[in-house]
């Protein structure tokens, strides 16, 4: 019996350590600007695209409303916003990202703007496997003060959780089939959805804070009790 006790106590200790350590991060993000500004509304600008896939800007843009809204923010209708820029002669994301924040504040009345840069978007055929990957960086800027409130990055891949099995031929066929379905069903935008949720959901380590419309507003950014 004594033996058992010697075994189990460290085990419980380990489990407790894992539990307590689970959500903690090594380098806590500095939220002082964020907490000072507490924006209620976010204007998502059409993302810059550094990938070869021309769908990246709209694919990513269309996936941003849900995570930000569910985090408690008002998100400006991305389609209307894009139309408004277009009607003012601004079609390229890089031109839009150059618009003075004062002007953005004036037209949209937004508290903050989100600048996204898509680094990676699309499907690669890699001999025995194909992978759809979307990687993006984002920066939240206060339109009243010009201060950067938060920045972060995230990635998602169709290969997550995939395991190799079925031999080389099976793998090749699988890769080809996957390649087809990847493009036909517009897998890019689906993976962009996962990336966006990781990038823009509150309640994650180093993520954005909850906004005023969330019941968790003001309850985050402090270490868990």
């Amino acid at each position: 019996m004594m033996m058992k006790r010697i075994f189990t106590l460290p085990l419980l200790g380990l489990a407790a350590a894992l539990l307590l350590g689970g959500c903690a991060t090594h380098q806590p993000y500095d939220y002082s600007n964020f907490k000072e500004a507490r924006p209620a509304s976010i204007l998502v600008l059409p993302p810059l695209n550094n990938s070869p896939d021309i769908q990246a800007t709209f694919g990513m843009l269309s996936q941003t409303t849900q995570p930000l809204s569910e985090s408690g923010y008002y998100v400006f209708p991305v389609t209307l916003v894009e139309e408004t820029f277009k009607q003012n002669g601004l079609t390229s994301p890089s031109d839009i990202h150059e618009v003075p924040i004062k002007k953005l504040r004036e037209i949209f009345g937004a508290d903050a703007a989100l600048y996204i840069n898509v680094k990676d978007y699309g499907t690669k055929y890699l001999v025995i496997s194909s992978e759809t990957r979307v990687t993006a960086e984002a920066k939240l800027v206060d339109l009243r003060s010009g201060k950067t409130l938060w920045s972060g990055s995230a990635t998602a891949s169709s290969a997550e959780g995939n395991s190799n099995s079925g031999g080389l031929v099976g793998a090749l066929v699988g890769a080809l089939v996957r390649q087809i379905t990847d493009t036909v069903t517009d897998r890019g935008v689906q993976i962009a959805g996962v990336t966006s949720v990781r990038l823009l959901s509150a309640g994650y380590p180093n993520g954005i804070l909850y906004g005023p419309r969330s019941p968790k507003y003001l309850k985050d950014g402090v270490p868990a009790p």
């Binding site: 489990a15 569910e70 008002y74 400006f76 209708p77 209307l80 949209f108 935008v189 419309r213």
Partner: protein
Amino acid sequence: MTYQYAKRLPVLLAVLAALLLSGCATKQEPLYYWGDFQSQQYSYLKGDKGPEEGIINLEKVREEAKSRGKSVPPGLQAHLGMLYGVTGRTDLFEKNLLAEKSLYPESAAYVDFLLKKKQQQKVVTK
């Protein structure tokens, strides 16, 4: 004492494991009813669907939200209003933008800007 402790151990471990697995992912009820709003936005941005189809779909989402007692998400009614605007139904453009503004006052400045612009366009075309 030791015996009882050992007997309870599996239960204790199971509880701990459950806590561990659920640790960070405290599931929360969504704030809004989304339907397929985001893919509607994607279709619009890509330009591969006409406004009529979008209107039918989003009116359906709004009905479903209502029957579930949930709010439609930010931007849905503004997007819907824009689709009505594209088809020339200015009254429904205005009505839906005002609905966006009343549900989400954060949009007030932008909605006023859009309504003013529409007004100016009307004056020009008259």
